[in-house]
Subunit: 295 residues, 2 copies
């Protein structure tokens, strides 16, 4: 089988044109307007301020606080801590681990929007909460999620998207998600072979699948950088190949969000394209069932 | 002699009221308007978009590029490099080392504004250019310059100010200078004794004179965080005790600025309040002459 999105193979970086559509099966009904769909298609992302109400966010946040205060969560393999401080940074597979996030993943505002863009039934490829603490939130370098999901997880095509739901206010100054507009149209093939068990370190600091400066400069010159800000409950939908990252956060304002990756059921994982063993289920599931309309 | 601004002595942090005025000898003539002086007094900083014209910035930047392309500058003790990449990060004492910055320090728009605020003749306590490169610009944690200048350099009173001249566009996303409005009214006494020769590491990563999270939270709740953005040539004047810092910069946009600290000639350095030897002249001069009106 020919790999149409090869990466970490050549010794020089490449910019490859995207083969797949961004909006699949146009006409699938859903909550997004035609203008929202058009913007998503063109930019590779769509920010929706206050998609989730302040009251709902308060309830989600309270549930999360109660859960993370329980020391047991730190013992899970799904829990990722900061290399230096040991502070809890992310928890994976939250849609399976906690009823609040189970419900949020099935919420029509997220799930039906994902179906509308991906043109099929969807399942949760990955979910997590990110707890970027105040004062010491580290930066997260530019990356295309698809590059990693393709190479390390065997995701065959670009038919997945992420939704980030802000649980805290996103300011300009607290390290908000940055996206390069239009970057979803080009695939940056990176250099360097993937080592085995790379994921254990890569969740803390990325060293493989890192795009080169020249490719990044090209993408930024074409589309510019956007960093949607907004109140808690603001959603950002973005394509699996949209280049994104975030700066550090020395402010006292934490940056927390819940994060769901929806993949088309017609885009199930194959063997990883790097030839290594698959990553664990909690990072890239191979057994996900379609998210039902109501649970 | 009683130390009215003790720091790095007690084992718990303290918030101490400022004793000194912010605008000294009001009525000193100068280029700033009454409204600008009032804002500076109240907030502890003043941003002036395009204080220096685009043409002037282009000439300054060209001179700086030519200078730093010359490998010799890296060999100077005044040159500071990034711990990880080895990239040039700052050059100190630029007002003495290069005619372009010599001229800029004496420019009436800077020098006379400093005289107007400080109410006396002024000399350059410290100068530098900061070259925060694209892709890998590190964050710089919150600090009051005065805390360090007082403890490590023996600056007796709060009668100094900094002017930062942006040589590149300041965006929200490329790690702009952040200031806590109104923080100049409170002095955060920090914990931890200063080790000898601290400055060699502190120019790369600060470990002493670091304000505690509770004090920072208090300051931010009182005044909020501002991060002036603007075109090249934008100036930010800020008081020596204004709490400031910056997040990292993963964007391709470098963040370069020229930086001059003006101190009142009536506020000359004493022995360091920490009891250690003075830091080098290029960091804190004891021999600075008043900046003349024209050179």
């Amino acid at each position: 089988m020919t790999d149409i999105y090869p990466s970490r193979i050549e010794t020089t970086p490449q910019l490859i044109d995207r083969v797949d559509p961004v909006v699949h099966g146009p006409g699938t009904p859903g909550p997004l307007t035609a203008a929202q769909i058009e913007a998503y298609d063109r930019l590779g992302y769509l920010a929706v301020p206050s998609l989730v109400s302040a009251d709902e966010v308060a309830a989600i946040d309270a549930a999360l606080d109660a859960w993370t205060r329980d020391g047991a969560v730190r013992g899970l393999s799904e829990a990722i801590t900061e290399p230096s401080s040991g502070a809890l940074r992310s928890i994976f597979r939250v849609h399976d681990l906690h009823p609040t996030f189970h419900g949020l993943a099935a919420d029509a505002r997220l799930r039906d929007a994902a179906r509308q863009i991906l043109g099929s039934d969807v399942y949760i490829h990955q979910s997590r909460v990110n707890l970027k603490p105040g004062f010491s939130g580290r930066d997260f370098y530019w990356h295309s999620d698809f590059e990693t999901w393709h190479v390390e997880d065997g995701m065959p095509r670009m038919r997945a998207l992420s939704v980030s739901i802000a649980l805290t206010q996103n300011y300009h100054v607290n390290g908000p998600l940055m996206l390069i507009a239009g970057s979803h149209r080009l695939y940056v093939a990176c250099v360097g072979r993937t080592p085995a068990d790379h994921y254990k370190a890569s969740l803390k600091k990325q060293e493989y699948g890192v795009p080169d400066p020249d490719s990044l400069r090209t993408l930024v010159e074409r589309g510019g950088i956007d960093a949607p800000i907004g109140p808690p409950g603001t959603a950002v939908f973005f394509d699996c190949n949209t280049m994104h990252g975030s700066n550090s956060n020395i402010t006292p304002y934490p940056r927390k969000n819940a994060f769901f990756v929806y993949n088309s059921v017609e885009n199930r994982l194959l063997d990883p394209f790097c030839g290594l063993s698959p990553r664990p289920e909690y990072i890239a599931t191979r057994t996900g069932i379609p998210v039902p309309a109501h649970r």
